[in-house]
Each structure stands twice: as structure tokens, then as C-alpha cells.
Amino acid sequence: METEFTPVASLFGGGLIGLSAVVLLAAHGRIAGISGIVSRILPPSVDKAGLPQGIIFLIGLLLAAPLWLVLTGAAPVQMVSSNGLLLVIAGLLVGFGSVMGNGCTSGHGVCGISRGSARSIAATMTFMATAFVTVFVLRHVVGG
């Protein structure tokens, strides 16, 4: 299904994500990588020192959509596949892969690239490549 190209909203939204990462680094010296923040508070090795800050950051993240609804009067627009099996597989791969690869779109894609990290640049190129291939197969080979 087509979605509207939104260069201005996307640029400003991206700017807010960047600002969040700068605030987190300035205040707490932490990288705003969501997979890292989440996985650090999961077993088996819970980072007790970082636990409160991690949970507070996630509460902020979870409050964004309800606040958006209150301020704009409309829920954020989204189209999520209702194929439960597909999304369980996708979730497992995203969770497993982001922890194994030490980062996701935010940690490697935004923060890592900004720091000029060669590891993050390699990781971003790798996950972009497999994601492009996956969507091609999903939409034009399997679904075509």
C-alpha cells in the first residue's frame, strides 16, 4: 500500500530523534540505542545501575503516542500487518539480531554513524541490505 512522501515532517521528526540522543548523552553520557536500553534491563544480566534510567526512558517513549493523541486529537496513523505469525517471526529476528549485532537503527544507524564508528557504518549497511532484499522477496517474489 502506498504511503505519502513526507520530507518535511520526516526531517523534523528525525531532528527530534537526534535531539533526544543529544539530551541523553549530555545528561547521562549514554547512547540512545533503543535495543541496548531495552536489552540491558532484561535477564539474564540486568544492569542494575542503569535500570531506573532505562525504565524512565522507556516510560517516556511509551507516553509519546498517548500524548500525541491528546494534543492533536487523532491517534498516529499506522498500518500494521495483522499476520500474527509473520510478526512473531519478525519480532524474534529483530530482538535477537539487534542484541547479537550490538545495536539497531537508532544505536548504529543514527548515533553510531554520527560518531563515525566503523562498526556502526558496517552494521547499518548490512541491515539495510538484508532489509531491502527481504522486502523485495516479500513483495515481489512471494507476494508478487
Binding site: 530523534i17 536489552s39 499506522q78 500474527g84 510478526l87 519478525a90 524474534l92 529483530v94 547479537m100 527481504t134
Partner: protein, 143 residues
Amino acid sequence: MHVFSTLFAGLLFGTGLILSGMANPAKVQNFLDLFGTWDPSLAFVMGGAIMVTMPGFWLVQKRITPLFHDVFHLPTRTDFDARLVVGAATFGIGWGLGGFCPGPALTSLPLAASGTLFFVPAMLVGMVIAKYTAAPLPKSLAV
């Protein structure tokens, strides 16, 4: 201030994801669909974010310590290993399949779309499995 800054950062991050359209998996998948209904918006999201983080990080790191802590917790590894590449490749496949990565999926959780309610618990399980299968990970996990 300490707690507020963290809460504010989380709220900013989620709001940015919503405003940018990245909380909509269809928009992410359309970015990845070069030969179909291509929507280049995601490139503008990354561009907008990096335009702020690049100068922002540089400025922040002129300080010796962060505002509320003694040290910066920055990743220090520079080596390439199989875990980085295999992990990233696996992550990319899941990202393409669902159109969700961790931030947007968690931001979408209160909207309670059925697909999100399948994705998020599976993602958390995937993370725990990866932690169990890994050798003790260095602090730089927090990339």
C-alpha cells in the same frame, strides 16, 4: 532534573518517531521497496537525526563528564566480528518482514494494533535468547 531529562529524552524520541512517520511500519517497508511503492521519507528521518546528533555529540563531548554522571558510556570497540555482521543481517531481515525496529515498535505499543502486540513480546524474547546465547557481553552492548 536527573529523572526529568531521561523522561524528556524518551518522550522526544517517541514523538520524533511518530512525527517522522517511522511509527508506521507501512512507511518503513515502502522505503525498503525500491521497485514498488517507494517512499524515500526514511532517508530524511536519518538525515534529520544525524544533522542534529553529529554537531550535538561533538559539542557534548567537549565536556569532561556528562551533567549527571561521572563518565561517558561510549562504545569503544573498533573490531569487526561475525556477531556484528550476522546480528545486523538478522536484524535487517526481521525489520523488513515486520516494518518495525525496537523504537517504533515500543512507541506503537499503546496504540495496541494486533500486529504490534505480537511483535513486541517476540522481540523481547529474541533479545533474551540472544543474551543467553552470547558470551558475557562487554558494556559496549549499549550501542
